[in-house]
Symmetry: C2
Subunit: 180 residues, 2 copies
Amino acid sequence: MKLEKSVFIATSLDGYIARGDGNLDWLDKANLSVPEGEDCGYVSFMSTVDVLVMGRNTFEKVLSFGGWPYEKKVIVLSSNNLEIPENLKKRVYSSAETPEELCNRLAADGIKRIYVDGGSVIQSFLAGGLITDITITVIPVLIGSGISLFGNTVKDIELEHISTKSYEFGFVQNKYVVKR
Amino acid sequence: MKLEKSVFIATSLDGYIARGDGNLDWLDKANLSVPEGEDCGYVSFMSTVDVLVMGRNTFEKVLSFGGWPYEKKVIVLSSNNLEIPENLKKRVYSSAETPEELCNRLAADGIKRIYVDGGSVIQSFLAGGLITDITITVIPVLIGSGISLFGNTVKDIELEHISTKSYEFGFVQNKYVVKR
């Protein structure tokens, strides 16, 4: 029973997933040049995912957009008590498990693939050797500072390049598998 | 008389051009998987370059490799006095000019394209709006910390994606032009 732990995310060319305060204005601006109906593989990727795992910051950011975009089960990793809106309580759960504990539980439950989202959660999964594959869509802009996708890894992490797709509107999507 | 100011560089997937101490062991290791004779477009790029511009750190790093790899004229930007080995004095010059002063002088001299190399020089050219195009070869490894290619840019810098080439050994080379 193998659990795939996947990242699917956009970064600026200088490797940030958001400005320091979480602002995505640069991404929203870039998205204006994306033709209607083009989702850069998001729906296709999402269709392979059983459960989303994110941190508190990402959860609160998504909530701030108004409305809730996910049909699938979401687990929010948080060591502190998390307030989950009443209407989401059947789809959103919080957990204080470590990434490893969570993965073991989900694998035992027969879950096949989780979508790991948000800078600090991605980084803690990476540090634990728990990420299987990473799809990064690189946006052609430098924003200079912000929340870095990878942060400081303690040791080198080698990846295998799987595929690259470049879009006519300037995004480049790369898929890598983390080497064991 | 238009002077092109070009970057041609390799980075780790997390955006570093070297470890903090300048070490390129991760790149040397990755290069072991590159077939003999494959230079990822380096010779072709170099054939379009008239002058190389680099900083003191890059100059000293190149010197430390032993031998001197460049036939073309090299200008080392350094505010301090630079010691240039006797055998290089006909090809290597130091300058305390600002990037803008240097570009104006070279353009007036009829130079068509310079190769801007090294983290801090690239960053000061970028900050001055002086980079024309950037070719980045992304190596499939995370090294976690080091000398960042882009550093902190003061404002957003938008780029136009020109081309992407992925190599079977896992490198992905992207070319961008800086938007004016």
